[in-house]
């Protein structure tokens, strides 16, 4: 049986990739995908723990996360579309309407 630490390492790597992507990338859609990546890293950790502890809690949580992710996609893509309509670009460096 594959030890749990392996799963967690994969999860950590995926999460770090997601964080790095969110911070470094400029394309809103890529950032969006990176966020999904972070969520799925969390999902992986949840499932791994659920299997380790022989409980269903983690698995149930994954469904919640997936639901949230779906809702987030709906809202997030809408934001990105309206942003594109406004700026004709999805480069977040060009969006600084909230600058103080």
């Amino acid at each position: 049986m594959v030890p749990i630490s392996n799963y967690l390492w994969v999860s950590v790597i995926l999460f770090s990739l997601g964080v790095t992507g969110v911070i470094l990338r400029r394309n809103a859609i890529v950032i969006f995908m990176c966020i999904e990546l972070m969520m799925n890293a969390a999902n992986l950790a949840f499932v791994a723990f659920a299997r380790q502890t022989h409980t269903l809690d983690g698995q149930v949580m994954v469904f919640f996360v997936m639901t949230v992710a779906a809702a987030e996609v709906a809202v997030g893509l809408a934001i990105i579309i309206s942003m594109f309509r406004h700026h004709e670009s999805v480069n977040i460096d060009q969006v600084d309407l909230l600058r103080g």
Binding site: V19, V22, I23, L24, R26, I31, I92, D93, V95, D96, L97, L98, R99, G100
Partner: protein, 635 residues
């Protein structure tokens, strides 16, 4: 009559006031005036009923507390809104509503052509209401409601012609000076509550028996209350507002000087006689202040040239006599003088109003003279009031003033001399007023002469009624009656059997002798006035010129207003100015502006953080997360 109906006494004027306040502009003048008069007349009728039902009771039971509703009920602090019906309060409400009614009737004619007719009667009824609450209240707090009420109404009525700067100034002066007195009164009330745990008269006065005479706390309470009385009843050093109160319409002066307002202080001290009896020091202060005020104001009255101002100073002086009586423990004599004074002072003010009315607003007696013919009826009634005020037998003032002087003689000879000197001045200045106004040659302006007319019946009838009262009003306090005079007897349940201040031993012979003496002093004053202003009119001018210093001193009222101006008002103004330009502008505004500047500066410094770049925020968030998590790992 069941005494619970006593609540109607203040209720009627209140209703009249409220109706006139809201509907007065739409009603005709006749309706407004009738309503106001009817309200006070109804109160008077109820008061008479209360008098008779109280009279039917056994003397020792003549003290009924009529509970209306619980006003304040907080923890151990209970104040019921209740009225105390006893001989003293019934006497006061009879005077207030009786004299007040006559003044209302007079006003309907006097104020006929005034724009603010309804407003005037609204205030007048409210004034009566406040005074009735004041005298009927069964606790210090209820009394204080009326106390503040009359203060407010006097402000409103003195400044009734508010477009005139002097009138609105006089109103403000009355209000501010009264405020000083009220402050003392409020402190006194707090000390009473602190000492007795209650503000109800019955509990306080029965609790006072626990204290020995001369205890400092009693003296403090009495002196603080007396500060309030000084403000309200125009005694030294707070009398300054009363002469200025002349700026109001003349019937208002009559109301303030006779029935309401200024008698409040006398009433309050008499009501608290239980406390004052426990403090010889406070009694001494009351007597000395009263005596000094009596003479002080009378001397100012000697040379004033405004008809109402002379009367105003005579009021201050007469109030001094009342306090003199209270101070020597002759409480019923003081209240007796309140009553007779209400009659003849109302008469004199309404009479002077009649003169002023006839002369189209002229108040300077140097521009009057020879009005005896054209204003015969006014002259006749005015003379009655003058004789009563001067203390001529058998007019009302004679009896009350002599009872005071007799009691003072038995207590303190120095104050008696002061009182007699005051009586001389009183007789002199009143007859000076009469001679200059009604006798001699006419000094009227031709215009005034043209409009000269006797007043209409609605003004004359109150004058006649008051003139009769100024004669017979004193007879209810006839001296030398077996078993004390009727008024004293009536007030016995309140003040206790009069301890006839060493009087019995001295015998009636001395009392009669003193009466003759003070009558002689009054006649001498009249004679001097006659000599000065009828026989040799050049004499006062020459005298004034030869004693210029003294004359100017009196004419300028001992420069008291100027002294107050220099010692209190102006320093106060400059202090206020300093507080404004320095403390308010520099310190208060400075702090406020500094806070604003700091926030703005901090904001613009922190502005840089909000770049609007989402990536930056994400980075900050991640870094923060890393810091937090590593903290937990390291710990």
């Amino acid at each position: 009559m069941d005494l619970k109906w006593i609540a109607l006494v203040p209720l009627f004027p209140l209703l009249g006031s409220v109706i006139n306040l809201f509907l007065g502009r739409r009603l005709s003048k006749g309706v407004v005036g009738t309503l106001a008069c009817a309200a006070v007349l109804a109160s008077f009728a109820v008061s008479v009923g209360a008098f008779f039902s109280l009279n039917a009771m056994a003397p020792e039971h003549r003290q009924v507390v009529v509970h209306l509703f619980d006003w304040i009920d907080a923890g151990s602090f209970h104040v019921p809104f209740a009225f105390l019906v006893d001989p003293l309060s019934v006497l006061m409400i009879l005077v207030v509503t009786g004299v007040g009614f006559l003044i209302h009737v007079y006003s309907t004619s006097y104020m006929e052509h005034d724009e603010g007719y309804a407003r005037y009667f609204t205030y007048l009824n409210l004034f009566t209401f406040s005074m009735l609450v004041l005298v009927l209240g069964s606790s210090f707090l209820t009394l204080f409601v009326g106390w503040e009420g009359v203060g407010l109404c006097s402000y409103l009525l003195i400044g009734f012609w508010y477009e005139k700067k002097s009138a609105s100034d006089a109103g403000k002066k009355a209000f501010v000076v009264n405020r000083i007195g009220d402050f003392g009164f409020a402190l006194g009330m707090m000390l009473i509550f602190w000492t007795f745990g209650s503000l109800n008269f019955t509990e306080v006065f029965s609790g006072a028996s626990r204290f020995a005479a001369g205890e400092p706390v009693m003296t403090t309470i009495c002196l603080l209350l007396f500060v309030g009385a000084c403000g309200k009843s125009a005694q030294l050093p707070l009398y300054v507002w009363l002469p200025d109160a002349m700026e109001g319409p003349t019937p208002v002066s009559a109301l303030i000087h006779a029935a309401t307002m200024v008698t409040a202080g006398v009433y309050m001290v008499a009501r608290c006689h239980v406390l004052y009896m426990l403090s010889p020091t406070a009694m001494g202060v009351v007597a000395v202040v009263g005596g000094v005020t009596a003479l002080f104001a009378a001397t100012i009255g000697l040379v004033q040239n405004d008809i109402k101002r002379v009367l105003a100073y005579s009021t201050v002086s007469q109030l001094g006599y009342m306090f003199l009586a209270l101070g020597v423990g002759a409480f019923s004599a003081g209240i007796f003088h309140v009553m007779t004074h209400a009659f003849f002072k109302a008469l004199l003010f309404l009479g002077s109003g009649s003169v002023i009315h006839a002369l189209s607003g002229e108040q300077d007696i140097r521009k009057m003279g020879a009005l005896k013919g054209p204003l015969g009826r006014t002259y006749f009634t005015f003379l009655f009031g003058t004789l009563a005020l001067a203390g001529i037998f058998p007019f009302a003032g004679f009896f009350s003033k002599d009872e005071i002087l007799w009691n003072v003689y038995n207590t303190n000879r120095v104050l008696w001399v002061v009182g007699v000197a005051g009586a001389f001045c009183t007789a002199f200045y009143m007859f000076r007023l009469v001679f200059l106004t009604f006798f001699g040659e006419s000094r009227l302006t031709s215009e005034a002469k043209h409009h000269l007319h006797e007043s209409p019946p609605r003004m004359l009838v109150p004058l006649f009624v008051l003139a009769i009262l100024s004669v017979v009003g004193g007879w209810i306090g006839l001296p030398l009656m077996p078993g004390g005079n009727p008024l004293t007897h009536w007030l016995d349940p309140v003040f206790g059997p009069e301890a006839a201040v060493g009087g019995e031993g001295a015998g009636h012979g001395l009392e009669i002798g003193l009466m003759a003496l003070s009558l002689g002093v009054a006649l001498f004053g009249i004679m001097v006035a006659w000599l000065f202003y009828r026989k040799t009119p050049k004499l006062p001018v020459a005298l004034g010129a030869s004693m210029k210093g003294a004359y100017n001193m009196l004419l300028n009222k001992y420069y008291v207003d100027e002294i107050y101006g220099a010692a209190i008002v102006r320093p106060f103004f400059s202090l206020s100015g300093m507080l404004w330009t320095f403390f308010d502008v520099k310190v208060v505004d400075g702090v406020v502006n500094a806070v604003g500047r700091f926030v703005r500066g901090a904001g613009s410094a922190a502005r840089g953080l909000q770049s609007g770049y989402v990536g930056g925020y994400a980075l900050a968030m991640v870094l923060g997360l890393v810091v937090v998590i590593s903290y937990y790992f390291i710990k």
